[in-house]
Symmetry: C2
Subunit: 621 residues, 2 copies
């Protein structure tokens, strides 16, 4: 097949691609970002493009679900469906352009007792003579043992190969970098004190890095970026599917995250006047799929019942074996995995929040593309995973979008006149609604009495904002004049239904876990996860995302998973604690619980069909 010329507008990016590729595939090859929340499975309708020139495969039935007759005549297609058959010019509308997400991955900087894996020792050696002919390494070994009582050490190959030169360059005064009192990672001439470590949280959507000084424990720099895998699928399942459906899929996804990390390492070190070679240790958290793809492990079994991971236990791998551009002898520590869908990120959350050291019975909800639940205290600890889908992150929502410039993130609706106040990220005109916005929106619709507890729009409400299109109701959050996309931004009945499905899964999960523990009330609720920090606790409770709790004891925390990675970076004993947690925590497979279906249905109501919320004070109803 001969290559075709393809031009993307408005960027003007162009290049050659093979005949028969979809517009989406072409955009990836040419480095053009088209929004594709479902990863090209024709199930999200977000990748709409306008054909300006060229010949394409026939309009498909799936496309018909998303694209109306008149749009179709205007040349609108789904990028994931239309295959390019002749040279083409394709226009990507504003709403289909993949945006740079506003990265929200701050962590708390709770002080951590400093006890890193890397220690450096400045030593002075006696030079060799005919009366002391021992080798350079044995000489160093002996000095370390005499001066610092270190046990016999192994020396990593790159350090060994430079040892001879460095000892003489330093005139027999050198700094030795030792890992875990076990292995020499480097030797540098004279007194050299720079030792950094990097904690990494590989999220499905966002990768965050926290650069720390391992001599002081100080957080030197924070850097986040989109997970470059996003262009191959928005959520975990679509990535697993991509890896299965493409011969090189696994390799592509693995390479994408490694390249991304190397970029992040470049950025974070440049921003802080350090060098990648100063990073002697890297700690990694991530959900099970991210963990597997980071390690180049086939994630396919994670998509098939009973979802076993490739490995539970924590791992130490040389960064060079992963082609990470840090110190050539640096170790990469990957936190352990609890169960198929409760990954190393959740272990990070637990380390950061330490429910196992508390008397209070706490519920931790790590809200992301997947929902991870932990309930427990010092006596008991249960974990579970809910397939909540990406609705709470803004996907599967008609005007849903990521937390990027132009996203409505806060909504208030007056119960009196149904007028709407909203806040937009970047203070620009809105072009969609992000996760915290949609939670606010649905909660406010309920509080204002516009929808009933089953989530249905009330027919009796009279407001220009509530309208019926083909018998399907929707509520206008922003009029088209206010927006940057020239369309009314609305919340539809289907959007509300999707939010209900997600929150019901979380609620039912929490309820079942409470039952298992024989408890009736929660002492504390913590909303964690990159976007958990932006959820309004009261709105979430109005919605019924979790069982009743005193609102004073409902907290949003930042990126607790990333915080966990920072903790094990700074204190190696915490790695043992992580392994203990994994042994202690009991994983509950919710889909196997016979009550799950009933609890789920009851939790569909806002806030719930039967449970009472004594701590909730609604303005109405």
């Amino acid at each position: 097949m001969k290559p075709l010329k393809v031009i993307f507008q408005p960027s003007g990016k162009r290049g050659e691609i093979q005949e028969g590729k979809t517009v989406l595939e072409a955009s990836r090859e040419l480095g053009v970002g088209i929004e594709s929340l479902c990863g090209g499975k024709q199930t999200c309708g977000k990748c709409r493009v306008k054909i300006l020139e060229g010949e394409f495969s026939p309009f498909s039935q799936e496309e018909g679900k998303w694209i109306g007759e008149s749009e179709r005549e205007g040349g609108i297609r789904l990028a994931c469906s239309a295959r390019i058959l002749k040279d083409a010019v394709i226009f990507i509308p504003e709403e289909s352009l993949a945006q740079i997400q506003i990265i929200r991955k701050r962590i708390s900087e709770r002080p951590v007792e400093l006890n890193p894996t890397i220690k450096s020792y400045f030593v002075k050696l006696t030079p060799p003579s005919f009366y002391d002919l021992s080798g350079d390494f044995e000489r160093l070994q002996k000095t370390l043992s005499d001066a610092h009582s270190l046990p016999p050490l192994h020396i990593d190959y790159p350090a060994l190969s430079k040892l001879t030169k460095v000892l003489r360059e330093g005139d027999w005064e050198v700094t030795v970098f030792v890992w875990m009192d076990r292995e020499i990672l480097d030797v540098k001439p004279k007194n050299n004190v720079k030792v950094s470590g990097l904690a990494i949280d590989i999220g499905t959507t966002t990768i965050a890095g926290y650069l720390c000084d391992l001599k002081t424990g100080e957080l030197i720099a924070t850097q986040s970026m989109m997970n470059p895998q996003v262009i191959y699928g928005e959520d975990v399942i679509s990535r697993i599917t991509f890896a299965m459906d493409h011969p090189d899929g696994l390799q592509i996804l693995h390479q994408a995250v490694i390249n991304g990390l190397n970029q992040l390492i470049q950025l974070i070190t440049e921003s802080s006047n350090t060098s990648p070679e100063d990073i002697y240790e890297l700690t990694v958290v991530g959900n099970t799929a991210m963990h597997h793809l980071f390690l180049g492990i086939d994630p396919q079994p994670l998509g098939v019942s009973p979802f076993p991971p490739a490995i539970h236990q924590s791992m130490d791998i040389k960064g060079r074996d992963l082609r990470l551009k840090i110190h050539p002898s640096a170790n990469v520590h990957i936190l352990p995995i609890e169960a198929g869908f409760v990954g190393a990120d959740n272990v990070g959350v637990l380390l950061a929040l330490e429910p196992y050291n508390q008397d209070d019975m706490v519920l931790i909800i790590d809200v992301g593309t997947n929902g991870e639940l932990v309930i427990g205290n010092r006596n008991h600890l249960l974990s579970a995973s809910c397939a909540i889908g990406p609705a709470l992150e803004g996907a599967h929502i008609q005007f849903g979008m990521r937390a990027a410039q132009g996203a409505i993130e806060r909504i208030e609706i007056s119960p009196k006149n149904f007028e709407v106040n909203y806040e937009v990220i970047g203070n620009s005109k809105p072009r969609g609604i992000c996760g915290s916005g949609i939670i606010d929106g649905v909660a406010e619709l309920y509080r204002a009495g516009i929808i009933d507890s089953s989530g249905r729009f009330k027919k009796e409400i009279r407001s220009p904002r509530l309208r019926w299109i083909n018998e399907k109701p929707e509520f206008v959050i922003a009029w088209k004049e206010e927006t940057s996309i020239g369309k009314d931004i609305v919340i539809t009945q289907k959007d509300i239904r999707n939010v209900q499905l997600a929150k019901a899964a979380l609620y039912a999960g929490a309820k079942l876990m409470m039952k298992k523990l024989g408890i009736e009330k929660l002492d504390k609720v913590i909303l964690a996860g990159a976007f958990g920090a932006y959820i309004h606790p009261e709105k979430a409770m109005i919605l019924g995302m979790f069982p009743d709790c005193d609102l004073k004891n409902v907290f949003s925390v930042g990126n607790a998973a990333g915080e966990g990675a920072r903790i094990v970076l700074l204190n190696k004993e915490k790695r043992l604690e992580a392994n203990e947690i994994v042994k202690k925590i009991k994983y509950v497979e919710l889909t196997l619980e016979i009550d799950f279906q009933r609890e789920f249905v009851e939790a569909m109501d806002i806030p719930h069909m039967r449970d009472s919320f004594p701590h909730l004070h609604l303005y109405r109803q």
Copy 2:
């Protein structure tokens, strides 16, 4: 500087090189082999070439030492001295062409108790279910523990990344390859039994490989090749100099030996219907300089008193870290080093010959470019190193050459008429004399009464073969009509002197070590080393290479160092034995012994100035 066109004849090889490079450097860049025993230091005179066209740097004083007036007028230059200033055509005469050496590195195949580092286990796993959610690795771990009582294992990263796929491909029946009961190196579907290992001897001149089946212990294939570093210098010292004098010298030498090993691995696996990926373990011996260059360690300190090595102890390094093209998780085990110049090759020799398990007092002479001596039995063990230079290998000898096609390897001289019988490698016309030939030659000159015990030619001898050129005597071994180079092949007074210097160093070393042990006679003498096997024991004793011993108990063995590498490949317990030997053996620095100079001078005589050789029966004298 603009590139110049250079053509080498008779091969016709051509290419571009930078102005100002020497002919030798140009030949290396263009892959033309010019003999260069001294490595370009203008001290051997072996790299004579004939200029056909072009302009070169002026004739140097050094060249004058090797090239006579009439030769000079004929365009003869030393390749290491003449720098190319204009496009050139250069002819390389037969005698200056680097030859493919006849590789003589056979080892004995003494049975070794099989106890390799790699064991493979065929196991059947129970597939995961909702009632057994453990990870793939933990599942494998448990099966190995239940079925084979293996302790908790580490899994190497490449094996981990494929585990998930392989378990399912094999339908939960897999073969696991475990190193040292410690680390999983690979997992393959179903029952897979191929496990090979490769023992490597990196000699200064020759690299030899011995491929073994680690399931049966069988020697599958043997392969040898020139050490590709030879073009950068013939002996250890000239390589160290090369590494010092060139900015990338160390890297060039390191890369050369790694490339060479990868070639050897390719050849040896092709010849035996195995694959490089079947090699799970590689063991390496070599002298200290070869050891360092193999590991990319700066060898400079080995050239400077007190010659400390970078490391004594044995090492285990992943083959991938050395860029060796074998199994990606294969381990490379490098034997320990005794002292600066008594390297891992000597440890290999000791493992092969086991003097430490014998009552007999044995002298082991490992003859190579360097001479390594061991004397001892089960009670005592001394080692030493003699800088004998490469004379015994045929260098620094007027017509010396490597053991290649056309080399005279055996010489007999009739004491009656001084006629000469010789044997030539490959049964072709001779073009030089190799190591065993020169030992034979000098011993026979003495036995025939042509030279006296001081090594001087006797003036009273009347033979057309003994002639004086400018008062300098030489003895014709082969008349020019018999040779392939159109010149008489002779042994000169200087050649004899060089052989005497070498043998005196060995003798004096052995004598001093005997004194240290308080012994007066040897029970056994073993000549080891690649070319040790080709030395005629009686001729060596006539020459006085070692103190008197019953000729019945003087043995030539093959490549004992390589045999040692094979032993530790097949039996991991022998690695502990190697480390024990290194601790047990006492290294004697001969140059520090006050008697050394006197012993050396006395040993210059043939066979010796004072010591008697009751076991030697000379035909004359």
